[in-house]
Symmetry: C2
Subunit: 385 residues, 2 copies
């Protein structure tokens, strides 16, 4: 297996992009990544997206985006794992380069949610849940997460306000990210007053929708060593694991088995333990998911995720910084693009290009991207060498 | 790169499966393939599907199907390239095994088109075209193919009846395939009388919708050699290429550049020329596409695809047999599953398990699966060794 490195990254700001089409967003991120990498062509494109078929009347994003981005004739596939689609595209690209099938591969994620000509976005998001057992019964995604959070509070004795630090940290970091949807800090008071959207989840527990795209250029690491490149950002771990798609089929709905498994595989591949990870981009679609992710990945004891946040250990100067560029909560969550935003934010950290929220001396960064209610979880570990 | 082999195959009959859900269809094919391969678990699943999000209110088919098929916790991704989704899933699985990321990977394709609770299938199929320039103007897929066929007839002087042998051959072969949607031969007279659906395309030029799933188990070839397996079906070529998604953006709408490119790459990988291919499963969604595919892949001169068919050279005993198990036309075209049906039909031929339509002494088989109107074309070459 060939070692794989990230040579370039690109992204759009996340917001309501009324004036840009799906392909314009994807193309903007891809061209930025190619410019950053100093390449003018690529052998293949792997594009993550969840719901363009329903939301934008457009499937077939491989060909659709490749042509627009100047990659006509190249290999191009669309990869989907619900909100984990971005990491799924990255993983497919990693395997393509690792296998020797492609030398220069682009992984990208794109989603356009705010001006959909078709479909109703909350209903479309629910297609990531089990239609027969969950969505068709009227359970939306926020409702599913509310059930999990309520049970978690009951089991472990946490109160709503104990989840505030996840949101406050994300917004504090997002304030320094020019690509973030929200660039304003929030206060504990604002969190306490935020309206409930599905009890116990309030507006500041939940990540916002948005339109955006992010991309990375992947090449064999040996190619960079040959040309005597300086710092190389190597993909040292790439793993994915699934769980039941319906939450009620799990023995323990408060434990992300798929996160634990994919994290363990990624640690083994990278030959590290959790204590060696310098920053961790969690999938904080809801604050409860950040807590569960920290636990399953080995950074907190079972039921103790919120404690890390309350003790300030998730801030950029803490023991395990999360959401260092704003996370899903403040940077935004254009679902199929999110995994790629996580990847490029880790690359920014490993390159020491993260500005005021730079994690001092970051050498190993990890991402965890969740599809569905924990039903497909992808973990990636990158290292600067 | 590790060599990859197909160890087992499985499929469902293609028909209107009112009594089976999307996951039941996929599970049936996957379990059949695992049984055929003699394996009870797998490291990963790559599932091709085009439009379950709109047609079945269900995205996230990786987790959805993995759990149902007894593969909970395994890696699982959904791959989409419109009607090329089946081959796209196969290609992703090939790269995963070739890279060493996975040892036992399952590639599957599934589509459920006939009893969709949401969406209108013709409109959903058009999401494979360019929404801005084609679909939103009212161009359906059959209309796009009709424009191509009309132009082809004008340029090269063919008449409608010259396309009949493609359909007649497909139906003659499908009559011997117990998994085919249509198992009756058709006559020239029936073709001549078939109602037009988009002039010049008639009902017998067009492949039928249907529900179905097909799957294959992939492993490293070295693993089979170690256990002294008999005949090994090796994946010797796997390539994909794109073209503009909108037809009017192409210099020559009558030439499938993406087919030519992906075929050339696959020939190079397999170190063969077209004359060495014993059978070729074309993407005969419409008879015109079979003709264009034969030309772009190097089996016929430009504009001369129909001649091969008229001379009987596409029959099982001809120079380049196509649609040997019925093709899209008679076996059926559950869009995201079709590429996987092509793969397993080639495997049946290479194993000499194709019954009355067995191609004598078949050792090298090729598939070509088309997404959109020629905008993403995947070519695979398999060899029995």
């Amino acid at each position: 297996m060939r070692e794989v490195a990230v040579l370039g990254i690109g992204q759009t700001k996340i917001e309501e992009h009324w004036e840009k089409s799906l392909r314009e967003l994807a193309g903007e991120a891809i061209l930025a990544a190619m410019h950053d990498a100093g390449v003018t062509k690529a052998d293949g494109l792997f594009i993550g997206n969840m719901m363009s078929g329903a939301a934008n009347h457009q499937q077939h994003l491989g060909a659709y985006v490749a042509d627009w981005a100047g990659l006509r004739f190249s290999d191009a596939l669309h990869v989907e794992a619900a909100c984990g689609s971005g990491s799924a595209a990255f993983r497919a690209a990693v395997m393509a380069v690792a296998s020797g099938s492609l030398d220069v591969a682009i992984a990208a994620g794109v989603e356009k949610m705010t001006d959909s000509p078709g479909g109703e976005i909350t209903a479309e998001l629910a297609t990531a849940a089990d239609y027969d057992w969950e969505a068709s019964q009227g359970l939306s995604f926020v409702a599913l997460n509310a059930l999990i959070m309520r049970r978690y509070m009951h089991e472990y004795g946490w109160k709503r306000e104990h989840f505030a630090p996840f949101s406050i940290n994300a917004h504090a970091n997002g304030a320094h990210n020019p690509f973030a949807r929200f660039q304003e800090p929030i206060t504990e008071a604002a969190y306490a007053k935020a309206p409930l959207i599905a009890d116990p989840i309030n507006l500041l527990d939940a990540s916002p929708m948005g339109d955006g795209a992010a991309a990375a250029v992947l090449v064999p690491a040996e190619m960079l060593r040959k040309v005597g490149s300086g710092k190389i950002i190597r993909v040292e771990g790439s793993a994915a694991a699934t769980d039941t798609i319906a939450i009620h089929h799990r023995r323990d709905p408060l434990w992300l088995s798929a996160a634990e498994r994919s994290a363990k595989q990624a640690y083994d591949q990278a030959k590290i333990t959790p204590s060696e990870v310098d920053l961790f981009e969690t999938h904080d679609a809801f604050t409860i998911m950040a807590a569960l992710s920290l636990e399953a990945a080995g950074f907190a004891e079972r039921g103790q995720g919120p404690r890390l946040a309350l003790e300030g250990e998730i801030r950029p100067d803490g023991r395990i910084p999360v959401a260092t560029r704003g996370g899903l909560k403040a940077r935004g969550h254009p679902v199929g693009a999110t995994g790629m935003y996580q990847i490029i934010e880790v690359v920014q950290q490993l390159r020491c290009e993260a500005g005021p929220t730079q994690v001092e001396g970051a050498r190993i960064g990890m991402t965890q991207n969740i599809g569905g209610s924990g039903s497909n979880i992808l973990t990636h570990i990158l290292r600067a060498v």
